[in-house]
Amino acid sequence: MSTPGDAVSVEEQIARWRSYLGRRQAIHSVDVAELEDHLREQIAVLVDAGLAPDESFLVAIKRMGDLDTLSREFAREHSERLWKQLVVVPSDSGEPRARARTDAIVAFCLAVVAALAIKVPALFGIQLEDQDAGFYARNLSLFVLPLLTGYFVWKRRLDTSTLRWLAVAFVAAGVFANVYPFAPGGSSFPGDSIEALTALHLPIALWLVVGIAYAGGRWSQVGGRMDFIRFSGELFIYYVLIALGGAVLMGFMAMIFQAIGIDIEPFFESWLLPCGAMGAVVVASWLVEAKQSVIENMAPVLTRLFSPLFAAVLVVFLGTLLWTGRGVGIERDVLIAFDLLLVVVLGLLLYSVSARDPRSPPGAFDVVQVVLVVSALLVDAVALWAIAARITEFGFSPNRVAALGENVILLVNLAWSAVLYIRFLRGRGSFTSLERWQTDYLPVYAVWAAIVVLVFPPVFGLV
């Protein structure tokens, strides 16, 4: 029957098959082990039935199915393992190098366009420095986000009907950012700038438009929106890294030019900083797309590091609050501070959710997450309580309504997340429902931001 030589060669073939399978990004080693166990059992059964070992191997391989189809099927199920490749049209890997090059060239050109676009208004006499600073603040996102969206439209080959809607969104944003008379002192609420509110909220609303282009037809799926969340996190990290590098570069430039008696600060302010900041958005996006595996796990790693720390701080804060019985001092910006706290907690939750293997059972880190979310909710509830008690005294100014609205939206998101997470910990729900809730909730933020941009100026007396 089977000679030792045969056995060795089958072992070798299995080893080769295993390493070949292991190179597929969508198939992890534990899956390879599962498939190998299957393969071996199949071979054993066939050998028992009288086939030679190498014949059995071939039959078993054939039954296992074609590897490309198999790894595509795995990829579809485990999209978190290769979130970026999946968005790109799957498996037509014809000349991937040429495509990567075109991609880089297009991204670079768009970055240059973005860098130059910020200088275009200067041609019409709108300078960055003086009283026109408000114009730039309001329109900042409009200089770069349409180009970024264009990049994804090109990359995902979106159809024209989607394209039309994206264009409509940007045109509408451009109109509403500029149609209201945002003159200083135009508001009936001195100290509150509606212009600043527009400048802050327009990018949030438009980021959803970028997301729809990014997801490229997968926006309706949980996976598509989750990929966009991952992309946003990695983009943020890349952007910060590029900004740090840029700061170092500028520091050295200033120093060496100072040595020869030339002050290049005006060049920094009017060219390097604005153009660099705009171009870097496109470059960072391209980097996230192109260099996926290099830094892919950055956001989850940071979450792992900071979730326990934030949880500890919040728990200690709550304990101190209870122990000393101090009230929360209501300063002018306290609401915004608590909004930011909730945003950070939401970010920590979001990126730990996005990186988690939904199949793994609840662990200690999940408990930390729940403690973090619940303690953040309690802290925020204390602050909201204090503010609600004195809201009549404060009155409703645009800043406060915007901040309060955001607080409520974040609170709802986190509260229901906490419920779903606790259900998951107690084995009553699946992790998928938490993912679905998080991704379904994304448009709420954009809608609220759009309301602030569209409705606040007329409501608060600008028109």
């Binding site: 166990d37 299957h38 296992m64």
Partner: protein
Amino acid sequence: MEINKDLIAASSTPIVLAILAEEDSYGYAILKRVRELSGGRMEWTDGMLYPVLHRLERLGHVESRSEVAESGRRRKYYRITSRGMAQLAEERRQWQAVDATLRGIWRALFLPVPASHPASAASLPQGA
């Protein structure tokens, strides 16, 4: 007889859940059971079972544990959860509705069930 891919895909969830409702099992044994139950008419590509199992696991319909089998290798066993049982009941209702509809129309047609034609069966390519 070759059953088309869409039917295979649609029926994979209830079949896998039902087999796991009989007893805990693992990949190879599940496929063997499918072959037994269908008299060899349902030919699944072996590898495709695993993404299905992983999807069911992600949805919380089954859970897995790793054990050392009698062969000495580690093997992943799957067990149906209470949510999986509920899903199975739901699938069963749906398939019974489909089945009842088809039965009704078969009766109304008065057509004899065609015996599988050897010629056509031979001409069909084997599924990849």
